[in-house]
């Protein structure tokens, strides 16, 4: 029985000669929500990119007990990891519907895909209205919704979300975080959430890691970190 869905062990990574991660270890339990916090440049985005083979890395990463070493991005994704990257990764040349179809394009369980479409349109009715339109016509918030919807349609075991709150109005952020919680609760998909907005991330997650210059500086239960004033002041800035 594997209770940890994702496990990073002493992961080092970087771009060319510039090392960004200096031995990061963290775990995401099956069905859990974990947030990864820290200042700009701490290595949060790089950690996510490392998991989906966007960066060269050493150390070890286990997903469902299997090492991701030497796997290509496509293979990691096919193993069950949906990565909503920085900038959301929307295909703006395509329509909203085509973006959604791309999310489900590897699945062969047609009836289940249809159910997921229904669910996605229930969460994000605006996407149903705009199905035929080019994805480039969507607002920032709508693009974030599309990125999440597409990730749901991939039916992953784990979602990596890179700053879903970035550039969005507070009310939209709240709505999106409610949906992330709902996705997690209804389908049991685990979430590794990178956020600048530590307050809202700690509310959602059960565990949290704080990165500082490529190392885990603090980690623990989210509720505990939220209550620890010195951690809040020195690392989370609120």
């Amino acid at each position: 029985m594997v209770s940890n869905l994702l496990e990073l062990k002493e992961v080092h990574a970087g771009y060319g000669p510039r090392a960004v991660l200096h031995g990061v270890s963290l775990t995401v339990p099956v069905g859990g929500i974990v947030s990864l916090l820290g200042a700009n440049g701490a290595g949060k985005t790089t950690t996510l990119r490392t998991i989906t083979a966007g960066v060269r890395w050493s150390g070890d990463i286990l997903f469902a007990g299997r090492s991701l070493r030497r796997m290509s991005t496509e293979d990691v994704v096919r193993a069950g990891i949906a990565h909503v990257p920085e900038g959301r990764g929307i295909c703006t040349e395509l329509t909203v519907d085509e973006n959604l179809r791309l999310g489900a394009h590897l699945r062969r369980d047609g009836a289940e895909v249809q159910k997921d479409y229904d669910r996605v349109f229930e969460y994000f009715p605006v996407l149903k209205e705009r199905r035929k339109l080019s994805a480039s016509t969507l607002s920032g918030g709508e693009q974030q919704m599309l990125a999440l919807a597409r990730a749901i349609l991939m039916r992953p075991k784990l979602m990596l979300l890179d700053e879903p709150s970035l550039g969005l109005a507070p009310i939209v952020v709240r709505a999106i975080f409610e949906i992330i919680r709902a996705i997690n609760e209804t389908s049991g998909v685990a979430v590794l959430l990178v956020e600048q907005n530590a307050r809202i991330a700690l509310d959602l997650s059960s565990t949290a890691y704080v990165l500082e210059v490529g190392r885990v500086a603090v980690s623990g239960e989210s509720a505990q970190l939220r209550g620890d004033e010195s951690v809040r002041r020195s690392y989370l800035g609120y």
Binding site: E74, V77, E98, L102, M154
Partner: protein, 293 residues
């Protein structure tokens, strides 16, 4: 009037030939950000293969699809062996590689088949039929029908199938596509295969008109460039419409402008390229070249 209508039909037929090659250029442009300068030569070599198959007794309508399949496979092989190793290299490297490929294929065709122009069979009779008072040749109608069917097939593949969707996604958004599990590298190879097959259609259609020899496509590729540029270089639909417009323009200019017939027709093609680049650099269907950062 009668004569004008005939020229229009001939222009559309030759435009369909340009459109096929222009579409091939656009498919590669979308995948690699650069046109494939060897596209015409690849089509020429494939036409020689069709010629060899027909000469060995294969029927035209059997040799045609067989050649397209061979061209498709060859396109994939070229992408895998020649383009993929340098796909992250500077643009100039790719330019030189495709130019080198063009020279290589041209020389190879000359070496194997020689430089003597050969007549290539047309499956359509050279008779004309009376269509609403206009005499139209079966050849023109046949070329229009074949080009139309091929272009329609490409449209259906790209717009209506999952493979086509992933090909478009891989070409325009390689990074985002990878994160959705799309095998980007293979999709680009598939794009090369498709472009190679579509370009071959133009070679086979034009060979009965021009006579088959290794330099046959060198004027056609200029018209195809003109068509692709006119259509906005990124737009498959633009390439098709651009092809037909260029075909019409060249044919009508040849027929009615004094002195343009024959050699100067190519100058019309070049003039179209220059005019588009000067007056409307994004073509008819291109978008302004702005990038969000």
């Amino acid at each position: 009037m009668q004569e004008f209508a005939q020229q229009v039909v001939s222009g559309i037929a030759i435009g369909g030939i340009f459109a096929s090659l222009a579409l091939a250029l656009v498919l590669i442009y979308n995948a690699m950000g650069l046109v494939n300068f060897a596209q015409g030569e690849m089509a020429m070599l494939a036409t020689f293969v069709a010629f060899a198959l027909i000469n060995r007794g294969m029927s035209y309508w059997f040799a045609f699809p067989v050649t397209l399949v061979l061209a498709f496979v060859a396109g994939i092989a070229i992408q895998r062996l020649v383009i993929k190793p340098v796909e992250r290299g500077p643009v100039l490297t790719l330019v030189i590689i495709t130019l080198g490929l063009a020279t290589l294929i041209n020389g190879l065709a000359g070496f194997i088949f020689g430089y003597v122009p050969r007549s290539f069979p047309s499956p359509f009779s050279s008779d004309s039929i009376d269509l609403l008072g206009v005499f139209v040749s079966w050849r023109d109608l046949g070329v229009i029908a074949v080009s139309g069917l091929v272009l329609l097939a490409v449209y259906v593949l790209l717009q209506r199938t999952t493979v086509g969707l992933t090909m478009r996604a891989a070409a325009h958004h390689p990074e985002a596509s990878r994160l959705l599990g799309v095998q980007v590298s293979w999709m680009l190879a598939l794009g090369w295969g498709l472009a190679s097959a579509v370009g071959t259609v133009s070679g086979i259609m034009v060979a009965p008109i021009l006579l088959l020899e290794p330099n046959m496509m060198q004027s056609i590729i200029i018209y195809a460039f003109a068509a692709a540029v006119l259509g906005g270089i990124e737009s498959p639909l633009g390439a098709v419409i651009g092809g037909i417009l260029v075909g019409l323009t060249v044919n009508l200019a040849g027929a009615y402008l004094p002195g343009v017939g024959g050699d100067l027709q190519l100058a019309v093609g070049l003039a179209i390229i220059i005019a588009v680049l000067l007056l409307r650099p994004n073509g008819l269907f291109g978008r302004a070249a702005t990038r969000r950062v």
